[in-house]
Amino acid sequence: MHPLQLSSFTLTTCLGRGLEATRSALQRRASGLARRQFDTTALDTCIGEVEGVDAVRLPPALAAWDCRNNRLAELGLAHDGFAEAVRAAAGRVGAERVGVFLGTSTSGILQTELAYRRRDPVSGALPADFDYGRTHNTYSVTGFVRARLALAGPAWTVSTACSSSAKVFGSAARMIDAGLIDAAVVGGVDSLCLTTLYGFNSLELLAREPCRPWDAARNGLSIGEAAAFALLEPLAASPAPDAVALYGVGESSDAHHMSSPHPEGLGARLAMQAALGAASLQPADIGYINLHGTATPSNDAAEDRAVVGLFGSATPCSSTKGATGHTLGAAGALEAMIAALALRHGFIPGGAHTATPDPALRAHYVLESREAKLRRVLSNSFGFGGTNCSLVLGRA
């Protein structure tokens, strides 16, 4: 594929708001996971909640889009000069030539969960103030961001569970390559809701303590929330010295099971191979792998087989989900932005909360954050339904 530069990017998670807070937290190996309840939950788990989402107010003209997920999107757009960079790009190429492709798994479903508590006792009807299309619907977050940034180009949501916002990079690259647009806002926004908290609880996949990817004692995931965005444009002839670009996207399906990965990680390996192929790279060219690493016993084991099978045991790897929690549909974009930070600032984030790497896993798991000159990195995202996506990013 033709490389695309990340002309601007930003991310907001439980680690903090914007690039600088996130970089600092990752280099300190900090974690934003905390034992607390969300809304009315009663679950014995830790969550990665973004501070201050409830206090965010959307612009009055867009008030109909108000829900936790779009508040998180609004918060995420407000940092690192991202909205200004998009406005400038739209000024150069035209608002109708900038696409918007965002990933989410549950969008604003919390709004519907709350509305179901306020049904009319006689008719069962949902309250009059509930706006399904602009809050709950899977497209809502993309529609909101498109309106918020005054863009007029093609747009859609990709919703493939936990690979959603990795796959949007592929959609944007293909639309740019076909000449239908000149630039794209990509990203992922997923926010805490009862469906995912109680859903993963039903699968007995929630860890009691903060999740510990790759640890011998790992026993499940911690759920987080995030907003991560990037502005993609064709790579400039003379990119800025600290420029980061997308070099490859690889996708595959497990064709195995709805909620468990292929035990040998076959689908994951196909996706990583395809991403390397798209970037015209060999495994040895990759200096760091940001693992999907959810910290469930079977997910990490399958991913380890896939990684070691393709890269051997020397390539440094870590999962940042011990720091941010698993942000589900936002994880792909969030971890692509973490990869971009690692490239720009020359470091490998150590896996927070992991103490004793599982001796049965053979990938080179990095525990402590350290400096590293990186040229090309890979980021993995896998999801329910057996959907896999790997991205290759690099210094331009």
């Binding site: 594929m1 109708e96 798994s105 519907t112 969960e113 179901y116 508590r117 049904r119 069962g124 009807a125 949902l126 509930f130 399904y132 299309g133 619907n137 899977t138 497209y139 993309t142 529609g143 007029a152 180009g153 093609p154 747009a155 859609w156 949501t157 990709v158 919703s159 493939t160 569970a161 959609s171 690259a173 293909r174 639309m175 390559d177 076909a178 239908l180 009862l194 469906t195 109680y198 859903g199 993963f200 039903s202 699968l203 996708e251 595959s252 399906s253 497990d254 064709a255 195995h256 099971h257 709805m258 909620s259 076959l266 689908g267 196909l270 999801g383 329910f384 339904g385 057996g386 959907t387």
Partner: protein, 266 residues
Amino acid sequence: MSRLAAAIEGVALLGPGLPGWAAARAVLTGAQPYAHAPTVVPVATLLPPNERRRAGLAVKIALAVGWGALTESARDASALETVFTSSSADGDTCHAICEQLAGSERLISPTRFHNSVHNAPSGYWSIATRCMAPSTSVCGYDASFGAGLLEACTLVHARGAPVLLIAYDAPYPEPLLSKRPVPDAFGVALLLSPQAGAGVLARLELTLIGDSPEPLADGDLESLRRSVPTARSLPLLSLLARGARGTAAIEYLDGLHIAATVAPCA
């Protein structure tokens, strides 16, 4: 403005009063009047018996039209990349979860939870067809068909390989139905490939336009087009049914629509 080209190798359609592509063609050409009848969704024979019984309407209609578009094709489903697009995937499952979460016993069934993801039909399809090729699932609310068509055609362009587009909608039960009044299930699948050759029904060329589409001449079909996101495909399907050269406008987002020019192959 750039043009995006693809060839159409297969079509499938299931909707209210439109029981399959062969039967629907007469209605879409105007040879027969539209007669309303509930959508008939066949059993998901692609799935193993256990899952067949449990499959919801969304999975059933997606799999039925997907398989339908392949019946007259020599394409191997196990190697075929797919694009699924829907406004809301499995509405029954979503309702059941929200109802459960509003009560005091918040026990969700694990199966129900994994069936609640937007890409559940894609997961069932890839398992049933043993297909490890990529698959994506997109959503554009009312613009879902246009979103899926663009995603599928840009994939054909990027990969130089065939892609199966599966667009479907399944209505929510009450109380969500009143907030999102999609009246019945509707599914359309298009088997798209890079170039015109043997087995190609028509060549397709897409451009983005600003003008809003004209209403369909048939009032019943127009009301269907306006009430079901996937039925925004009807202007394109009508052209294909007539076997005529022409351009159909597909309603997409506010102020941005898709002109689909069709040239039939003999």
